[in-house]
Protein backbone atom coordinates (compact mmCIF):
# COMPACT_ATOMS: atom_id res chain seq x y z
CA UNK A 1 0.00 0.00 0.00
CA UNK A 2 1.21 3.49 -0.87
CA UNK A 3 2.04 5.80 2.06
CA UNK A 4 -0.73 8.21 3.01
CA UNK A 5 -0.61 11.79 1.74
CA UNK A 6 -0.82 14.84 4.00
CA UNK A 7 -4.25 16.51 3.90
CA UNK A 8 -5.26 20.10 4.69
CA UNK A 9 -8.47 22.02 5.29
CA UNK A 10 -8.81 24.80 2.68
CA UNK A 11 -12.45 25.80 2.96
CA UNK A 12 -15.14 26.03 5.63
CA UNK A 13 -18.77 27.07 5.58
CA UNK A 14 -21.10 27.30 8.53
CA UNK A 15 -24.74 28.16 9.11
CA UNK A 16 -25.54 29.83 12.44
CA UNK A 17 -26.96 27.51 15.13
CA UNK A 18 -30.51 28.15 16.34
CA UNK A 19 -34.05 27.48 15.13
CA UNK A 20 -34.82 27.97 11.44
CA UNK A 21 -38.30 26.61 10.75
CA UNK A 22 -38.37 28.35 7.36
CA UNK A 23 -35.48 26.27 5.98
CA UNK A 24 -35.02 22.59 5.25
CA UNK A 25 -31.86 20.78 6.31
CA UNK A 26 -30.92 20.54 2.66
CA UNK A 27 -31.31 24.33 2.22
CA UNK A 28 -28.95 24.86 5.13
CA UNK A 29 -26.48 22.33 3.73
CA UNK A 30 -26.41 24.05 0.35
CA UNK A 31 -25.71 27.42 1.99
CA UNK A 32 -22.71 25.90 3.78
CA UNK A 33 -21.36 24.20 0.68
CA UNK A 34 -21.58 27.47 -1.25
CA UNK A 35 -19.69 29.37 1.44
CA UNK A 36 -17.07 26.62 1.83
CA UNK A 37 -16.49 26.59 -1.92
CA UNK A 38 -16.13 30.37 -1.90
CA UNK A 39 -13.69 30.16 1.01
CA UNK A 40 -11.59 27.64 -0.95
CA UNK A 41 -11.90 29.44 -4.31
CA UNK A 42 -13.41 26.33 -5.80
CA UNK A 43 -16.48 25.38 -7.76
CA UNK A 44 -18.82 22.45 -7.05
CA UNK A 45 -17.29 20.58 -10.00
CA UNK A 46 -13.88 20.63 -8.24
CA UNK A 47 -15.29 18.36 -5.50
CA UNK A 48 -14.39 14.75 -6.26
CA UNK A 49 -15.83 12.95 -3.24
CA UNK A 50 -18.34 13.84 -0.53
CA UNK A 51 -19.31 12.53 2.91
CA UNK A 52 -22.60 13.57 4.49
CA UNK A 53 -24.05 13.42 7.97
CA UNK A 54 -27.17 11.25 7.86
CA UNK A 55 -29.96 12.78 9.94
CA UNK A 56 -30.91 10.68 12.99
CA UNK A 57 -34.45 11.77 13.91
CA UNK A 58 -36.15 10.79 10.68
CA UNK A 59 -39.22 9.45 12.49
CA UNK A 60 -39.90 13.06 13.59
CA UNK A 61 -38.91 14.97 10.46
CA UNK A 62 -36.87 14.91 7.29
CA UNK A 63 -37.70 11.30 6.45
CA UNK A 64 -35.63 9.12 4.16
CA UNK A 65 -34.32 12.04 2.01
CA UNK A 66 -32.56 13.35 5.11
CA UNK A 67 -31.18 9.92 5.95
CA UNK A 68 -29.87 9.72 2.37
CA UNK A 69 -28.64 13.30 2.66
CA UNK A 70 -25.94 13.04 -0.04
CA UNK A 71 -28.05 12.44 -3.11
CA UNK A 72 -30.79 14.67 -1.70
CA UNK A 73 -28.38 17.64 -1.47
CA UNK A 74 -26.84 16.70 -4.83
CA UNK A 75 -30.28 17.25 -6.41
CA UNK A 76 -29.96 20.88 -5.29
CA UNK A 77 -26.23 21.45 -5.90
CA UNK A 78 -26.37 19.63 -9.23
CA UNK A 79 -25.57 15.96 -9.74
CA UNK A 80 -21.97 15.39 -10.80
CA UNK A 81 -21.70 11.63 -10.35
CA UNK A 82 -19.05 11.67 -7.60
CA UNK A 83 -18.86 9.12 -4.74
CA UNK A 84 -21.06 10.11 -1.79
CA UNK A 85 -21.46 8.40 1.55
CA UNK A 86 -24.04 9.00 4.30
CA UNK A 87 -22.86 8.39 7.82
CA UNK A 88 -24.48 8.44 11.21
CA UNK A 89 -22.27 8.17 14.31
CA UNK A 90 -24.62 10.16 16.54
CA UNK A 91 -23.12 13.47 17.70
CA UNK A 92 -19.70 12.31 16.54
CA UNK A 93 -20.93 12.17 12.92
CA UNK A 94 -19.44 15.54 11.94
CA UNK A 95 -15.89 14.50 12.64
CA UNK A 96 -16.58 10.97 11.39
CA UNK A 97 -17.44 12.34 7.93
CA UNK A 98 -14.47 14.69 8.01
CA UNK A 99 -12.34 11.60 8.58
CA UNK A 100 -13.98 9.99 5.52
CA UNK A 101 -13.12 13.04 3.42
CA UNK A 102 -9.56 13.14 4.78
CA UNK A 103 -9.01 9.44 4.10
CA UNK A 104 -10.36 9.77 0.55
CA UNK A 105 -7.64 12.34 -0.14
CA UNK A 106 -4.88 10.80 2.00
CA UNK A 107 -5.27 7.45 0.27
CA UNK A 108 -4.86 8.97 -3.18
CA UNK A 109 -8.39 7.98 -4.18
CA UNK A 110 -9.21 11.64 -4.95
CA UNK A 111 -7.47 15.00 -4.53
CA UNK A 112 -10.34 17.10 -3.15
CA UNK A 113 -13.23 16.08 -0.89
CA UNK A 114 -15.94 17.67 1.23
CA UNK A 115 -17.71 16.79 4.49
CA UNK A 116 -21.21 18.21 4.96
CA UNK A 117 -23.72 17.90 7.79
CA UNK A 118 -27.05 19.64 8.22
CA UNK A 119 -29.32 18.95 11.15
CA UNK A 120 -32.59 20.08 12.71
CA UNK A 121 -32.53 18.75 16.26
CA UNK A 122 -34.25 21.75 17.88
CA UNK A 123 -37.28 20.93 19.99
CA UNK A 124 -36.58 19.34 23.35
CA UNK A 125 -35.35 16.00 24.69
CA UNK A 126 -34.04 13.43 22.28
CA UNK A 127 -36.20 10.32 22.35
CA UNK A 128 -36.43 6.86 20.84
CA UNK A 129 -37.16 6.63 17.14
CA UNK A 130 -39.27 3.51 17.42
CA UNK A 131 -42.87 4.51 16.74
CA UNK A 132 -44.34 1.02 16.47
CA UNK A 133 -46.02 -0.05 19.69
CA UNK A 134 -45.19 -3.71 19.00
CA UNK A 135 -42.13 -4.27 21.23
CA UNK A 136 -44.26 -4.89 24.28
CA UNK A 137 -42.68 -8.33 24.45
CA UNK A 138 -38.90 -8.27 24.73
CA UNK A 139 -38.65 -11.80 23.38
CA UNK A 140 -39.84 -10.71 19.95
CA UNK A 141 -36.11 -10.46 19.41
CA UNK A 142 -35.67 -8.66 16.13
CA UNK A 143 -37.56 -5.66 17.42
CA UNK A 144 -35.56 -5.18 20.61
CA UNK A 145 -34.39 -1.62 21.08
CA UNK A 146 -32.50 -0.85 24.29
CA UNK A 147 -32.97 2.87 23.62
CA UNK A 148 -36.74 2.37 23.73
CA UNK A 149 -36.47 0.15 26.82
CA UNK A 150 -34.29 2.57 28.81
CA UNK A 151 -36.55 5.48 27.90
CA UNK A 152 -39.94 3.88 28.59
CA UNK A 153 -38.98 1.58 31.46
CA UNK A 154 -36.43 3.70 33.38
CA UNK A 155 -37.24 7.29 32.32
CA UNK A 156 -33.56 7.80 31.56
CA UNK A 157 -33.24 10.87 29.34
CA UNK A 158 -29.82 12.08 28.20
CA UNK A 159 -29.59 14.70 30.99
CA UNK A 160 -30.55 11.97 33.49
CA UNK A 161 -27.49 9.98 32.48
CA UNK A 162 -25.22 13.01 32.64
CA UNK A 163 -26.65 13.94 36.05
CA UNK A 164 -25.98 10.45 37.42
CA UNK A 165 -22.36 10.57 36.29
CA UNK A 166 -22.09 14.03 37.78
CA UNK A 167 -23.54 13.04 41.16
CA UNK A 168 -20.98 10.24 41.39
CA UNK A 169 -18.22 12.72 40.51
CA UNK A 170 -19.44 15.08 43.27
CA UNK A 171 -19.33 12.14 45.70
CA UNK A 172 -15.86 11.00 44.55
CA UNK A 173 -13.98 14.30 44.16
CA UNK A 174 -16.25 16.99 45.60
CA UNK A 175 -17.20 18.92 42.46
CA UNK A 176 -19.39 21.84 43.62
CA UNK A 177 -22.45 23.63 42.31
CA UNK A 178 -20.22 26.68 41.85
CA UNK A 179 -17.84 24.79 39.55
CA UNK A 180 -20.76 23.57 37.44
CA UNK A 181 -22.16 27.08 37.10
CA UNK A 182 -18.69 28.41 36.27
CA UNK A 183 -18.34 26.01 33.32
CA UNK A 184 -21.45 27.58 31.79
CA UNK A 185 -20.65 31.13 32.84
CA UNK A 186 -17.09 31.10 31.53
CA UNK A 187 -17.86 29.50 28.18
CA UNK A 188 -20.77 31.91 27.66
CA UNK A 189 -18.23 34.75 27.64
CA UNK A 190 -16.82 33.24 24.46
CA UNK A 191 -20.20 33.22 22.73
CA UNK A 192 -20.86 36.97 22.78
CA UNK A 193 -18.90 37.67 19.60
CA UNK A 194 -19.46 34.35 17.84
CA UNK A 195 -21.95 34.97 14.99
CA UNK A 196 -22.62 31.20 14.75
CA UNK A 197 -23.65 30.78 18.40
CA UNK A 198 -27.32 30.57 19.32
CA UNK A 199 -27.04 32.23 22.75
CA UNK A 200 -24.73 35.25 22.37
CA UNK A 201 -25.00 36.47 25.92
CA UNK A 202 -23.15 36.12 29.17
CA UNK A 203 -24.98 33.90 31.67
CA UNK A 204 -24.24 35.14 35.19
CA UNK A 205 -23.37 32.79 38.04
CA UNK A 206 -26.53 33.93 39.82
CA UNK A 207 -28.92 33.15 36.97
CA UNK A 208 -27.29 29.79 36.29
CA UNK A 209 -27.50 28.77 39.94
CA UNK A 210 -31.10 30.00 40.12
CA UNK A 211 -32.16 28.01 37.04
CA UNK A 212 -34.32 25.01 37.84
CA UNK A 213 -33.07 21.45 38.09
CA UNK A 214 -33.79 19.30 35.04
CA UNK A 215 -32.11 16.25 36.49
CA UNK A 216 -30.67 17.05 39.92
CA UNK A 217 -27.74 18.03 40.25
CA UNK A 218 -27.84 19.41 36.66
CA UNK A 219 -29.68 22.67 36.09
CA UNK A 220 -31.42 24.00 32.98
CA UNK A 221 -28.58 26.36 32.07
CA UNK A 222 -25.97 23.66 32.65
CA UNK A 223 -27.39 21.47 29.87
CA UNK A 224 -27.13 22.34 26.17
CA UNK A 225 -30.28 23.01 24.20
CA UNK A 226 -31.08 21.21 20.95
CA UNK A 227 -30.61 23.28 17.79
CA UNK A 228 -30.67 23.44 14.03
CA UNK A 229 -27.28 23.89 12.38
CA UNK A 230 -25.15 22.99 9.38
CA UNK A 231 -21.51 23.12 8.33
CA UNK A 232 -19.18 22.03 5.53
CA UNK A 233 -15.41 21.50 5.36
CA UNK A 234 -13.30 21.06 2.20
CA UNK A 235 -9.99 19.19 2.24
CA UNK A 236 -7.30 18.69 -0.38
CA UNK A 237 -3.69 17.51 -0.48
CA UNK A 238 -1.18 19.56 1.50
CA UNK A 239 0.75 19.84 -1.74
CA UNK A 240 -2.16 21.60 -3.50
CA UNK A 241 -3.49 23.44 -0.47
CA UNK A 242 -1.63 26.72 -1.05
CA UNK A 243 -3.40 27.06 -4.41
CA UNK A 244 -6.71 27.35 -2.59
CA UNK A 245 -5.95 28.97 0.74
CA UNK A 246 -3.32 31.32 2.17
CA UNK A 247 -3.90 29.67 5.53
CA UNK A 248 -4.37 25.92 5.16
CA UNK A 249 -4.74 23.80 8.29
CA UNK A 250 -3.00 20.44 8.17
CA UNK A 251 -5.13 17.62 9.55
CA UNK A 252 -2.43 16.19 11.77
CA UNK A 253 -4.66 13.44 13.14
CA UNK A 254 -8.31 12.45 13.02
CA UNK A 255 -10.08 9.40 14.37
CA UNK A 256 -13.29 7.84 15.61
CA UNK A 257 -13.39 6.43 19.14
CA UNK A 258 -15.50 3.46 20.21
CA UNK A 259 -15.68 1.67 23.59
CA UNK A 260 -13.58 -1.10 25.10
CA UNK A 261 -15.40 -4.18 26.43
CA UNK A 262 -15.70 -3.92 30.21
CA UNK A 263 -16.20 -0.15 30.39
CA UNK A 264 -18.11 0.56 33.64
CA UNK A 265 -20.20 3.33 32.04
CA UNK A 266 -23.87 2.55 31.32
CA UNK A 267 -23.76 4.47 28.06
CA UNK A 268 -26.83 6.23 26.70
CA UNK A 269 -29.25 3.87 24.94
CA UNK A 270 -28.11 0.92 27.10
CA UNK A 271 -29.51 -0.48 30.35
CA UNK A 272 -26.44 -2.02 31.98
CA UNK A 273 -22.66 -2.32 32.04
CA UNK A 274 -20.38 -5.20 33.02
CA UNK A 275 -17.29 -3.46 34.44
CA UNK A 276 -14.02 -5.34 34.08
CA UNK A 277 -10.76 -4.62 35.94
CA UNK A 278 -8.47 -2.09 34.29
CA UNK A 279 -11.03 -0.74 31.81
CA UNK A 280 -11.67 2.99 32.30
CA UNK A 281 -14.98 4.80 32.01
CA UNK A 282 -15.65 6.83 28.83
CA UNK A 283 -13.31 4.41 27.07
CA UNK A 284 -14.59 5.50 23.63
CA UNK A 285 -13.43 9.05 24.40
CA UNK A 286 -10.10 7.98 25.89
CA UNK A 287 -9.47 5.64 22.96
CA UNK A 288 -9.98 8.52 20.49
CA UNK A 289 -7.69 10.90 22.38
CA UNK A 290 -4.95 8.30 22.80
CA UNK A 291 -5.09 7.58 19.07
CA UNK A 292 -4.80 11.20 17.90
CA UNK A 293 -1.82 11.88 20.16
CA UNK A 294 -0.13 8.76 18.80
CA UNK A 295 -0.88 9.67 15.16
CA UNK A 296 0.29 13.24 15.55
CA UNK A 297 3.30 12.55 17.79
CA UNK A 298 2.01 15.37 20.01
CA UNK A 299 1.24 15.51 23.73
CA UNK A 300 -1.29 17.49 25.77
CA UNK A 301 1.33 20.20 26.44
CA UNK A 302 1.61 20.84 22.67
CA UNK A 303 -2.08 21.76 22.30
CA UNK A 304 -2.75 25.51 22.06
CA UNK A 305 -6.53 25.65 21.78
CA UNK A 306 -9.34 23.17 22.48
CA UNK A 307 -12.93 22.67 21.39
CA UNK A 308 -14.43 20.12 23.76
CA UNK A 309 -17.97 18.72 23.88
CA UNK A 310 -19.59 20.69 26.71
CA UNK A 311 -23.04 19.17 26.21
CA UNK A 312 -23.40 19.78 29.95
CA UNK A 313 -21.21 21.20 32.71
CA UNK A 314 -20.34 17.62 33.64
CA UNK A 315 -19.02 17.03 30.11
CA UNK A 316 -16.87 20.14 30.29
CA UNK A 317 -15.02 18.80 33.32
CA UNK A 318 -14.58 15.19 32.25
CA UNK A 319 -13.54 16.08 28.70
CA UNK A 320 -10.98 18.62 29.88
CA UNK A 321 -9.50 15.82 31.99
CA UNK A 322 -9.73 13.31 29.14
CA UNK A 323 -8.00 15.59 26.62
CA UNK A 324 -5.25 16.81 28.93
CA UNK A 325 -4.70 13.48 30.71
CA UNK A 326 -5.68 14.93 34.11
CA UNK A 327 -6.85 13.06 37.20
CA UNK A 328 -10.55 13.19 38.07
CA UNK A 329 -11.17 16.46 39.90
CA UNK A 330 -8.25 18.41 38.44
CA UNK A 331 -10.42 20.09 35.80
CA UNK A 332 -12.38 21.84 38.55
CA UNK A 333 -9.26 23.68 39.72
CA UNK A 334 -8.12 24.46 36.19
CA UNK A 335 -11.52 25.92 35.34
CA UNK A 336 -11.70 28.04 38.48
CA UNK A 337 -8.17 29.40 37.83
CA UNK A 338 -9.30 30.99 34.55
CA UNK A 339 -6.49 29.30 32.62
CA UNK A 340 -9.07 27.84 30.22
CA UNK A 341 -11.10 31.03 29.68
CA UNK A 342 -12.45 30.90 26.10
CA UNK A 343 -10.96 34.27 25.09
CA UNK A 344 -8.34 35.33 27.63
CA UNK A 345 -7.09 31.92 28.80
CA UNK A 346 -3.55 30.69 28.24
CA UNK A 347 -5.27 27.54 26.96
CA UNK A 348 -8.53 28.75 25.38
CA UNK A 349 -11.32 26.15 25.64
CA UNK A 350 -14.60 26.47 23.67
CA UNK A 351 -13.61 29.86 22.26
CA UNK A 352 -16.98 30.43 20.61
CA UNK A 353 -19.01 29.41 23.65
CA UNK A 354 -18.95 25.68 22.96
CA UNK A 355 -21.92 23.36 22.63
CA UNK A 356 -23.47 25.12 25.64
CA UNK A 357 -23.86 28.34 23.63
CA UNK A 358 -24.84 26.64 20.41
CA UNK A 359 -27.24 23.94 21.46
CA UNK A 360 -26.61 20.64 19.87
CA UNK A 361 -27.36 20.03 16.19
CA UNK A 362 -26.42 16.38 16.43
CA UNK A 363 -24.71 15.29 13.22
CA UNK A 364 -23.33 18.77 12.43
CA UNK A 365 -21.80 19.41 15.86
CA UNK A 366 -18.34 18.03 15.12
CA UNK A 367 -17.95 20.13 11.98
CA UNK A 368 -18.99 23.25 13.88
CA UNK A 369 -16.15 22.63 16.34
CA UNK A 370 -13.68 22.17 13.48
CA UNK A 371 -14.90 25.38 11.78
CA UNK A 372 -14.40 27.30 15.03
CA UNK A 373 -10.84 25.98 15.40
CA UNK A 374 -10.07 26.93 11.78
CA UNK A 375 -11.39 30.49 12.22
CA UNK A 376 -9.40 30.98 15.44
CA UNK A 377 -6.20 29.50 14.03
CA UNK A 378 -6.52 31.69 10.92
CA UNK A 379 -7.18 34.71 13.16
CA UNK A 380 -10.58 35.52 11.65
CA UNK A 381 -12.72 35.86 14.76
CA UNK A 382 -12.62 39.66 15.14
CA UNK A 383 -13.85 40.67 18.59
CA UNK A 384 -14.21 36.98 19.44
CA UNK A 385 -10.57 36.21 18.61
CA UNK A 386 -8.65 34.58 21.46
CA UNK A 387 -5.95 36.75 23.01
CA UNK A 388 -3.35 34.01 22.75
CA UNK A 389 -1.29 34.45 19.57
CA UNK A 390 0.55 31.13 19.35
CA UNK A 391 -2.07 28.86 17.84
CA UNK A 392 -0.10 26.06 16.20
CA UNK A 393 -2.03 22.96 17.28
CA UNK A 394 -5.78 22.88 17.87
CA UNK A 395 -7.74 19.89 19.19
CA UNK A 396 -11.45 19.16 18.83
CA UNK A 397 -13.35 16.29 20.43
CA UNK A 398 -17.02 15.40 19.96
CA UNK A 399 -19.11 13.27 22.33
CA UNK A 400 -21.90 11.05 21.03
CA UNK A 401 -24.63 8.75 22.22
CA UNK A 402 -24.10 5.04 22.63
CA UNK A 403 -20.29 5.12 22.68
CA UNK A 404 -19.66 7.21 19.57
CA UNK A 405 -16.75 9.62 19.77
CA UNK A 406 -14.40 11.43 17.40
CA UNK A 407 -11.41 13.73 17.72
CA UNK A 408 -8.88 15.55 15.57
CA UNK A 409 -5.80 17.76 15.77
CA UNK A 410 -5.29 20.61 13.29
CA UNK A 411 -1.87 22.16 12.69
CA UNK A 412 -1.01 25.60 11.33
CA UNK A 413 0.54 25.05 7.87
CA UNK A 414 1.63 28.45 6.60
Amino acid sequence: MKPMREVAIVGIGQHPWGQFPEKSMQDMGVECIVSALKDANMSWRDIQSAAFGAYMWIADRGGVPSLLMGTSIARMMGETGIPMVNCVNACASGQAILREAVLAVASGHVDTAIAIAADKSAGGFFRPQLRDASPTKFDRGGENDTDYIRFCMTGETNPAYWAMELRRRMYDVGTTDEVLAMAKHMTSEGAVHNPYARYRKVFTMEEIQASKYIADPLRLFEICATSDGAAAVIVTTMENAKKYSKKPLLVKAITIGTPTFGDPTIRLTFCSAFPRPGVPDLSESRNAIKAIYKMSGLQPADIDIIELPDNSSWHYLVYLECILGLKTGEADKMLMSGKVHPITGELPVCSGGGVAAQGEAVVAQGLSQVCQLVRQMRGECGEGQVKKTKLVNGLAQTYGYAGNNAACILHKAW
Partner: protein
Amino acid sequence: MAKQQVPIIEGLFTWPSQKPQLLASKCKKCGSYFFPKVAYCGNPDCPKDKANMEVVPLSNTGKMYTFTIHTAQPAHPFRMEPFKPYGVAMVDVPEGMRVLGMTTTTEGLKIGQAVEMTVGKLYEDAENEYITWMWKPVEK
Protein backbone atom coordinates in the same frame (compact mmCIF):
# COMPACT_ATOMS: atom_id res chain seq x y z
CA MET B 1 -61.58 -6.17 41.52
CA ALA B 2 -57.92 -5.26 41.44
CA LYS B 3 -56.52 -4.54 38.02
CA GLN B 4 -53.94 -6.86 36.56
CA GLN B 5 -50.32 -5.66 36.72
CA VAL B 6 -48.64 -5.95 33.33
CA PRO B 7 -45.02 -5.09 32.50
CA ILE B 8 -44.78 -2.21 29.99
CA ILE B 9 -42.40 -4.46 28.04
CA GLU B 10 -42.62 -8.15 28.93
CA GLY B 11 -39.61 -10.44 29.22
CA LEU B 12 -37.24 -8.13 31.13
CA PHE B 13 -37.96 -9.51 34.61
CA THR B 14 -39.66 -12.58 36.10
CA TRP B 15 -43.39 -11.90 36.27
CA PRO B 16 -45.79 -12.58 37.85
CA SER B 17 -43.68 -13.15 40.94
CA GLN B 18 -43.63 -12.44 44.69
CA LYS B 19 -39.93 -11.67 44.34
CA PRO B 20 -39.32 -10.36 40.81
CA GLN B 21 -35.81 -10.60 39.34
CA LEU B 22 -34.25 -9.03 36.25
CA LEU B 23 -33.51 -11.51 33.47
CA ALA B 24 -29.93 -11.35 32.22
CA SER B 25 -27.76 -13.42 29.91
CA LYS B 26 -24.65 -15.07 31.28
CA CYS B 27 -21.81 -16.38 29.14
CA LYS B 28 -20.80 -19.91 30.13
CA LYS B 29 -17.28 -19.36 28.73
CA CYS B 30 -16.19 -16.09 30.34
CA GLY B 31 -18.85 -15.40 32.98
CA SER B 32 -19.87 -11.98 31.61
CA TYR B 33 -23.42 -10.79 32.27
CA PHE B 34 -25.65 -8.75 29.99
CA PHE B 35 -28.99 -7.04 30.64
CA PRO B 36 -31.36 -7.14 28.86
CA LYS B 37 -30.73 -10.62 27.44
CA VAL B 38 -28.46 -10.90 24.41
CA ALA B 39 -27.96 -13.54 21.75
CA TYR B 40 -24.16 -13.43 21.81
CA CYS B 41 -21.49 -12.75 24.43
CA GLY B 42 -20.06 -9.23 23.94
CA ASN B 43 -16.57 -10.29 25.00
CA PRO B 44 -14.38 -9.88 21.88
CA ASP B 45 -12.48 -13.04 22.83
CA CYS B 46 -15.56 -15.28 23.16
CA PRO B 47 -16.92 -17.37 20.29
CA LYS B 48 -20.18 -16.04 18.85
CA ASP B 49 -22.15 -19.12 19.78
CA LYS B 50 -25.72 -18.72 21.05
CA ALA B 51 -25.41 -22.00 22.91
CA ASN B 52 -22.90 -20.38 25.29
CA MET B 53 -25.49 -17.97 26.61
CA GLU B 54 -27.86 -18.87 29.42
CA VAL B 55 -30.70 -16.79 30.81
CA VAL B 56 -30.25 -16.17 34.54
CA PRO B 57 -32.28 -14.15 37.04
CA LEU B 58 -30.12 -11.47 38.70
CA SER B 59 -29.96 -11.01 42.46
CA ASN B 60 -32.70 -8.63 43.47
CA THR B 61 -30.46 -6.74 45.88
CA GLY B 62 -27.75 -4.21 45.13
CA LYS B 63 -25.87 -1.10 46.13
CA MET B 64 -26.62 2.39 44.80
CA TYR B 65 -23.74 3.55 42.58
CA THR B 66 -25.38 6.86 41.69
CA PHE B 67 -28.78 8.44 41.02
CA THR B 68 -30.59 11.56 39.84
CA ILE B 69 -33.95 13.14 40.62
CA HIS B 70 -35.52 13.89 37.26
CA THR B 71 -37.89 16.83 37.52
CA ALA B 72 -38.58 17.54 33.84
CA GLN B 73 -41.20 15.44 32.04
CA PRO B 74 -39.76 13.31 29.21
CA ALA B 75 -41.49 13.25 25.83
CA HIS B 76 -43.65 10.43 24.46
CA PRO B 77 -43.16 7.39 24.39
CA PHE B 78 -42.33 7.73 28.10
CA ARG B 79 -45.57 7.56 30.07
CA MET B 80 -46.12 8.27 33.74
CA GLU B 81 -49.64 9.26 34.76
CA PRO B 82 -49.96 11.46 36.71
CA PHE B 83 -46.43 12.77 36.16
CA LYS B 84 -44.30 13.54 39.16
CA PRO B 85 -40.52 13.89 39.63
CA TYR B 86 -38.85 10.49 39.78
CA GLY B 87 -35.49 8.97 40.61
CA VAL B 88 -33.25 7.08 38.19
CA ALA B 89 -30.36 5.07 39.54
CA MET B 90 -27.39 2.93 38.58
CA VAL B 91 -27.15 -0.02 40.92
CA ASP B 92 -24.30 -2.50 41.39
CA VAL B 93 -25.62 -6.05 41.81
CA PRO B 94 -23.63 -8.97 43.29
CA GLU B 95 -23.09 -10.57 39.85
CA GLY B 96 -20.76 -7.65 39.01
CA MET B 97 -23.19 -5.79 36.79
CA ARG B 98 -24.24 -2.17 36.95
CA VAL B 99 -27.94 -1.84 36.13
CA LEU B 100 -30.19 1.12 35.39
CA GLY B 101 -33.65 1.56 36.88
CA MET B 102 -36.13 3.98 38.42
CA THR B 103 -36.32 4.31 42.19
CA THR B 104 -39.47 3.86 44.26
CA THR B 105 -38.92 7.19 46.01
CA THR B 106 -37.15 10.52 45.52
CA GLU B 107 -36.62 10.93 49.27
CA GLY B 108 -33.45 10.11 51.16
CA LEU B 109 -31.54 8.50 48.29
CA LYS B 110 -27.83 8.02 49.04
CA ILE B 111 -24.84 6.72 47.12
CA GLY B 112 -23.74 3.42 48.65
CA GLN B 113 -27.10 2.54 50.23
CA ALA B 114 -28.59 -0.95 49.96
CA VAL B 115 -31.50 -1.34 47.54
CA GLU B 116 -33.73 -4.15 46.43
CA MET B 117 -35.61 -4.71 43.23
CA THR B 118 -39.35 -4.38 43.14
CA VAL B 119 -41.95 -3.24 40.63
CA GLY B 120 -43.95 -0.03 40.37
CA LYS B 121 -46.79 1.34 38.26
CA LEU B 122 -46.26 4.12 35.70
CA TYR B 123 -49.77 4.32 34.20
CA GLU B 124 -53.00 2.35 33.83
CA ASP B 125 -56.00 1.83 31.58
CA ALA B 126 -59.45 0.28 32.18
CA GLU B 127 -58.06 -3.28 32.53
CA ASN B 128 -54.42 -3.09 33.52
CA GLU B 129 -51.77 -1.31 35.52
CA TYR B 130 -48.51 -0.98 33.55
CA ILE B 131 -45.39 -1.63 35.59
CA THR B 132 -41.62 -1.46 35.36
CA TRP B 133 -38.78 -2.62 37.62
CA MET B 134 -37.71 -0.21 40.35
CA TRP B 135 -35.00 0.01 42.99
CA LYS B 136 -36.23 0.43 46.53
CA PRO B 137 -33.94 1.67 49.33
CA VAL B 138 -33.80 -0.75 52.30
CA GLU B 139 -32.68 -0.15 55.86
CA LYS B 140 -29.47 -1.98 56.71
